[in-house]
């Protein structure tokens, strides 16, 4: 009888210990929390010049004058890589609109304390999410980034104007899309991002002028309209994909 009682009590004790309710251990007050939030800030610019819409004030590598009327792109599946090569994946789908600073940040919440030495992400929407319009947040079709005649998101848009060789102002339209265009990016953090319980900022530069450089510097007199809607644009897509590697650069952490 007693034996049974004891067995049961022991059993109960073991099970309660194994139970997943966290034990409240007293932590000394000054110790910092084990995680912090990191705001990953995309600093959009053209060779150091800020983005201002509607101004014919930029010059590309080929020497063409141009302006930006719209500049938007998707940053998805951000991964922060620790110095021991383990990874923290965010599963995010963020639309960056260069004209609206509040959109130019990807928030990584509760990042475990560690030294992070690399950031990886995609420009574009991975295939499993690319062909469905009934999605929310930045993938909501009302964001104006999805094709409704051929279900799929436009990964990057630059619309604007350029001054042609005859000094006339002509339209410029670059829509980078289709599964082929999904562009994985890796940016080494030359100064490691040290997460230590205090919220941090990570600044990544986006330089639009580095995008129009492959295989040679794009002359807008010739290349001024690519919308990824025919196979004739495949070489352009492949070149953009290469260029994107140079578009993103580590700036600083704060």
């Amino acid at each position: 009888m007693k034996f049974i009682k004891i067995t049961f009590m022991a059993f109960i004790a073991i099970v309660s210990i194994a139970s997943c309710k966290k034990k409240k251990t007293e932590t000394p007050a000054p110790q910092l929390p084990p995680t912090a939030n990191v705001a990953i800030q995309f600093e959009n610019q053209v060779d150091g010049q800020a983005i201002e819409l509607g101004k014919m004030q930029y010059t590309n590598a080929a020497g063409n004058k141009y302006q930006i009327d719209l500049l938007k792109y998707y940053i998805t599946n951000v991964v922060l890589v620790k110095d021991d090569n383990t990874e923290l994946a965010l599963k995010n789908y963020d639309l960056i609109n260069a004209a609206d600073l509040s959109t130019c940040v990807v928030n990584a919440l509760a990042v475990p304390n560690a030294n992070y030495t690399k950031i990886k992400f995609n420009v574009g929407i991975p295939q499993d999410r690319n062909h469905n319009g009934a999605q929310n947040g930045d993938l909501d079709p009302a964001m104006g980034m999805i094709w409704d005649w051929n279900t799929g998101y436009v990964f990057f848009k630059h619309e604007g104007k350029y001054t042609n060789s005859a000094n006339a102002v002509k339209s410029l339209i670059f829509h980078y899309a289709t599964d082929r265009a999904l562009t994985p990016i890796e940016v080494p953090l030359t100064t490691a991002l040290n997460v230590n319980g205090v919220d941090k900022k990570l600044f990544i530069k986006f330089n639009l002028n580095n995008l129009y450089t492959t295989p040679t510097n794009l002359d807008f007199n010739i290349d001024n309209n690519h919308q990824s809607s025919s196979s004739a644009d495949f070489p352009w897509i492949d070149n953009m994909k290469l260029s994107f590697a140079d578009v993103f650069q580590f700036d600083k952490t704060e």
Binding site: S19, H131, G144, W149
Partner: protein, 351 residues
């Protein structure tokens, strides 16, 4: 005493195992609380319909989708609804227009499609450009030659409406109407548009019989050396395998069709094989509505088709002129047995 103890221990154990489950389950309820799940009534002879797991059907969701389908609020000047071009009496096509006219009085370039048994299809539009039924919904709303409205505007109007916000909240939760909710509600309604009670279906169930002419028509329809229609318009339930094919309407296609979607030039001039249910009601025919009558359609397959580079092999190998005028009439008689008058009069599909 012993018994009590054991029971007590069991209760303890139960409580503890329950605690074990304290990791919160992520599973969001499949449907909002208080809604009535809806099970499609599939007529005998039609296969089961796969309902996407992220858009389970509810009585309330279908009712909301139906209201939206008939509501011109989704168009730029609030004059045109989905139902303006998809009319029940024509099996949800646009009367006998070759090209529908949008709110700006401009014609499109394709013939309006019937909305019948849509849940069996994977891709939508003549070229299959819409990757699912939900995604199709935003096409006509934004198309400048159709409803010509921005989604931002349409959502603002819905959110400011006296009754829609409560209806949406009831069906989908959330405090704001979002595009995905509009898409899902309309798709739910569209999946209920099931036709399976034509004369053909009744004959198959032993509740009627074909006339000799209709029976001959069915024979030619399946006969490889005659109509050979069933190769693509699979006989049975859906009357299509929904594959993309070039049927030789033009030797050089004016409309790239599937090629515009796959970006593969070998798909140029290919279009989705349409179902033939209610085909007598949906003229004019083909993606561009070029044929006014079924006779013209059949004569196209008999003698009219052009040898485009990627003409479907079945037509490459077919002999031109294999159908005589009587055979053509027989096939028409058979196609007429696919008309489902219950479907076009079903009060559930009316405004």
């Amino acid at each position: 005493m012993m018994n009590k103890l054991i029971i007590g221990a069991m209760v303890c154990f139960f409580v503890i195992s329950f605690q074990f489950g304290c990791k919160k389950k992520e599973a969001t309820p499949a449907i909002e609380q208080g809604l009535t799940p809806y099970t499609l009534q599939i007529p005998a002879g039609l296969p089961d319909m796969q309902i996407p797991s992220d858009n389970p059907m509810t009585v309330e969701g279908i009712a909301l989708g139906k209201q939206l389908f008939f509501d011109p609020i989704l168009s730029g000047d609030n004059t045109m609804a989905c139902a303006s071009c998809h009319r029940q009496s024509f099996s949800f096509t646009d009367s006998n227009l070759q090209f529908s006219i949008g709110i700006d009085h401009l014609p499109g370039t394709r013939n309006a499609m019937p909305l019948v048994n849509l849940g069996y299809q994977k891709q939508f539009f003549w070229d299959g450009g819409a990757a699912n039924l939900e995604s199709q919904v935003i096409g006509p709303i934004q198309n400048p030659v159709e409803m010509h409205e921005t989604l931002v505007n349409a959502l603002a109007e819905l959110n400011a409406h006296p009754t829609y916000p409560a209806l949406f909240k009831n069906v989908f939760g959330g405090d704001k109407i979002e595009t995905a909710m509009v898409m899902k509600a309309i798709a739910q309604f569209e999946r209920t548009l099931i036709s399976g009670n034509s004369k053909y279906d009744q004959v198959k169930l032993g509740k009627g019989s074909f006339t000799p002419q209709e029976q001959r028509g069915l024979n030619w329809f399946t006969d490889l050396n005659k109509g050979d229609c069933a190769h693509c318009h699979v006989i049975g339930s859906t009357f299509s395998d929904f594959e993309y094919r070039n049927t030789g309407l033009d030797s050089i296609p004016v409309d790239k069709g599937r090629g515009r979607i796959s970006l593969n030039t070998t798909d140029d001039g290919k279009f989705k094989t349409p179902s033939l249910r209610n085909i007598a009601l949906t003229g004019p025919y083909m993606h561009d509505g070029r044929f006014k009558t079924l006779e013209e359609c059949i004569q196209h397959y008999n003698v009219g088709y052009k040898y485009a580079d990627n003409l479907d092999p079945n037509l490459v190998n077919a002999k031109k002129g294999r159908l005589n005028p009587a055979d053509v009439q027989d096939i028409i008689a058979f196609l007429n047995t696919l008309t489902d008058t219950e479907f076009i009069n079903n009060p559930k599909f009316k405004k």
